[in-house]
């Protein structure tokens, strides 16, 4: 693992990217890394295109990930994943939620065309249905945590399942904690059961 790792998390505003990035960042800080997480609020708070960055390593880090810099791109929605693909380094890993949410009042796009485009990139790609797993875990809104589990399962970040679970258990309580723990495990198991990528 290099000195510095850069991750980008793309999705639609409201999908919980910031929560995902914050949990990731907290676990990395606890591990002694320097961490910078960037995000843009404001007009894109709800329903807009949102991308969040997490960088970690040693020394001084800038808060943004620029084109070709990301080691990992976590996409919570297919269109938004494709939009942010230029951030990814050609040797990077793509982890995508197979969830399609076309913007309202836009030109119609075909889901299968998008998935074909995704495959044609020739990148190391993990595709999973996090929304489906989230429902199984107990709540459809835990899909971001399923994706966090998938990220940890992909072994592209220097964090173990236990290290992330311990942050979750401090952040959430009761039923929410239970659902999120399930979600994390489901994402993790889905990816680790597929072997190496």
């Amino acid at each position: 693992m290099g000195v510095k790792r850069a991750l980008a998390i793309a999705g639609v505003g409201g999908q919980g990217q910031i929560t995902l990035a914050t949990i990731l960042g907290q676990a990395l800080v606890r591990k002694g890394y320097n961490v910078r997480g960037g995000e843009v609020h404001g007009l894109s708070q709800r329903g807009g295109s949102v991308v969040v960055f997490v960088k970690y390593g040693r020394g001084i880090l800038s808060p943004i990930v620029t084109e070709g810099e990301a080691d990992v791109l976590v996409g919570l929605e297919i269109i938004e994943t494709l939009r942010r693909v230029p951030l990814l380094s050609p040797s990077g890993v793509l982890i995508v939620n197979d969830f399609f949410l076309p913007p309202p009042a836009s030109k119609p796009v075909n889901r299968e065309d998008l998935k074909k485009a995704l495959k044609s990139l020739g990148l190391k790609t993990i595709l999973l249905n996090a929304n489906e797993l989230a429902v199984k875990a107990g709540s459809p809104i835990s899909s971001n945590i399923v994706m966090l589990g998938a990220l940890i399962g992909s072994k592209t970040v220097d964090l173990s399942l236990e290290e992330v679970s311990s942050v979750l258990s401090e952040r959430f309580k009761g039923k929410t904690l239970e659902v999120n723990m399930n979600a994390l495990k489901m994402g993790y198991d889905y990816v680790s059961s597929r072997g190496s990528i």
Partner: protein, 623 residues
């Protein structure tokens, strides 16, 4: 009370947002007052302090606007207490009248003004560089480079403010304010100061000839700081090659560090945190290099000052800056690396990104499902069509600014807080049809009232539609004088917009339910008639709580949210719901129009506008 993100024991390392770090720094300095009007990217500073204020004896207020916020903080400083006020860059424009006098009179208790600038204008009407306000007002400007530094510097600036008896600017940018980083917490200090008014009319009354004395004092203060700040602990020099010096201020420092690492070169780096006044000794040290590159976002503030000092000191260094570094938009590591590569004479090839050939649909931000503003726009446009007028629409700053986009197109002019009324009046005085001005509740209290009084006094044919969702929504739901509660949720008196409008002498004031399309349409139509016949302003207040707040309330009460659906047998595919009303919960799939049950919040407005009566709740609501 649950622990806030900024609470913890000294020495603990936490992941904090830049804004949270500033809030923590203020607590560590033992502040007594924190004031703000919310504005991206500054809001979380006072929002975080509001959560903990009571526990630490800090008076926290959401002020009606930035001018008042600054004035309350100044008053606190005159009482010998430490005060923080935070605002977005354009908020300082609103506060600037008080600011200029503050620059002369100075502060007593430590006074830190956070100006959160927004290079790239991510959520603002411009990308003005507020370091220039520092120069203009003689108030020193400090720029932290990381969340840790933001916390430490905030704490230390209160000491500096008191030592030099001046207010100080802490200037952040979106990238610092809204980025997270590890922050090692320090000790919390309780100062136990007894508030006492420091009577000094010659200082606090900005009158001639005393103001001329204050002016000289301010200049002397700046001169003194120009000498002393060379030793400021957040300025330093990282020794490297003798040929090239790079001066990096604030957030640019991280870009410079990453860039020189990518280029694999070793220039001398001047890490600068006090940008105004520029410390003279440090400047001379940099100017002794043959070539100096200044890396700063937006305006050439440091660069220009360096050029002046070079001239005054007779130094011949070649100074580079805005000839290589763009003045528009925020910087990034590749932009900075490319600039450095040019003067360092080393090649730089940015990484080749993966490209996709497919054209993706844009995803502009939209009004939320159930947003009352959508219903108001829809209904007012119906009223306009019925009245057979072609009005100019002026609009204002808030979530409702999204009316700019199709299908509503209800923004021909959008300027700054409150300008929908002022500029709207100027247009209305000379236009054939009345002007329709849209303004939100929070913006109305902030800057709309003078424009309304002006419109009444000067007989302006203006229809003012106040889109009242009860809260400052866009910045994340901070309460205002109409919300009925204060920063910590405690009950407060409601100051009603209709009472203010009537008191201002408006002859037509009506309150409608934003969700009731027919009511809003009919009242707006009558208001338009009133404006045309009387050549005087009318006010329609379209009221409904913010849909997100309502959803949160329903969830916490355990109330069921019943989504609507479109009965495909009855649907005539006219497209009114999807194209004219344009709720994000309503989508086309193939030739069908559907409601996404996960997105629908069950407001039911679409059902009321469906000409075929094809939209119904998925089940009947009980109770």
């Amino acid at each position: 009370m649950p622990k806030s993100t900024i609470e913890g024991s000294p020495g603990e390392v936490k992941l904090l947002l830049g804004n949270e770090a500033i809030a923590r720094g203020a607590l560590e300095a033992g502040i007594s007052i924190a004031t703000a009007y919310p504005g991206t990217p500054s809001t979380e500073i006072v929002e975080t302090l509001a959560e903990v204020g009571e526990r630490y004896g800090v008076y926290v207020e959401w002020s009606v606007n930035e001018k008042v916020a600054l004035e309350v903080a100044i008053g606190g400083s005159m009482m010998g207490l430490r005060a923080l006020t935070a605002m977005k860059h354009v908020g300082v424009n609103v506060a600037s009248d008080s600011l200029m006098s503050l620059g002369y009179a100075g502060a007593l208790g430590g006074l830190v003004i956070v100006t959160a600038d927004d290079p790239s204008a991510h959520s603002s009407q411009n990308e003005q560089d507020n370091r220039i306000y520092g120069i203009h007002s003689y108030i020193p400007v400090f720029e932290p480079a990381s969340p840790q530094e933001a916390k430490d510097m905030t704490r230390d600036l209160f000491d500096l403010s008191e030592k030099y008896e001046t207010a100080v600017f802490l200037r952040t940018t979106t990238r610092l304010a809204h980025s997270r980083g590890e922050v090692k917490l320090g000790e919390l200090v309780k100062l136990e100061r007894k508030p006492a008014f420091h009577r000094d009319p010659e200082r606090w009354c900005c009158l001639p000839p005393y103001d001329l004395v204050s002016h000289q004092k301010a200049l002397d203060r700046v001169r003194r700081l120009e000498e002393d700040l060379s030793g400021f602990k957040y300025n330093w020099v990282e020794e490297g090659s003798k040929e090239l010096a790079i001066v990096a201020s604030g957030a640019s420092y991280a870009y410079v560090k990453e860039a020189v690492e990518r280029l694999n070169i070793n220039p001398t780096i001047f890490k600068l945190s006090s940008t105004f006044p520029l410390p003279r000794k440090l400047a001379i040290q940099a100017l002794n290099f043959e070539r100096v590159l200044v890396v700063e976002e937006l305006e050439p503030v440091v660069e220009d000052r360096l050029k002046v000092i070079a001239y005054e000191e007779g130094l011949k260094a070649q100074i580079f800056g805005k000839n290589l570094i763009p003045r528009v938009r925020e910087l990034s590591t590749p932009i900075v690396a490319s600039a450095i590569s040019k003067i360092a004479g080393v090649p730089y090839s940015p990484p080749t990104p993966v490209r996709i050939s497919l054209e993706l649909p844009a995803r502009p931000p939209v009004l939320c499902a159930g947003c009352p503003h959508r219903a108001t726009y829809y209904a007012v446009k119906l009223a306009v069509a019925r009245s057979r007028i072609k009005p100019v629409y002026t609009n204002d700053i808030g979530c409702y600014s999204l009316g700019f986009y199709p299908p509503f197109n209800t923004a021909d002019v959008m300027w700054c807080m409150g300008a929908s009324l002022g500029i709207g009046s100027g247009i209305a005085k000379f236009s054939q049809d009345p002007v329709v001005a849209f303004i939100g509740d929070s913006t109305f209290y902030h800057a709309g009232i003078p424009g309304l009084i002006n419109a009444v006094y000067n007989n302006i044919p203006l229809l003012v539609v106040v889109m009242d969702n009860g809260i400052t929504a866009m910045t994340g739901h901070q309460p205002h004088p109409g919300s009925g509660y204060g920063p910590a949720g405690e009950p407060r008196q409601v100051i009603k917009i209709e009472d203010l409008a009537r008191a201002a002498g408006v002859g037509f004031v009506e309150v409608v339910d934003a969700y009731n399309i027919n009511e809003v349409r009919d009242v707006a139509e009558r208001a338009i008639r009133y404006v045309r016949e009387n050549k005087r302003p009318a006010v329609v207040i379209s009221r409904r709580p913010c849909a997100l707040i309502e959803l949160r309330r329903k969830r916490s009460r355990g109330e069921e949210i019943v989504p609507y659906f479109i009965d495909q047998e009855k649907c005539i595919k006219c497209g009114v719901c999807v194209d004219k009303f344009s709720c994000p919960a309503i989508v086309r799939e193939g030739d069908r129009i559907l409601i996404l049950p996960d997105v629908c919040v069950g407001c039911g407005v679409c059902a009321s506008i469906c000409p075929a009566k094809a939209i119904r709740p998925v089940k009947s609501v009980t109770g």
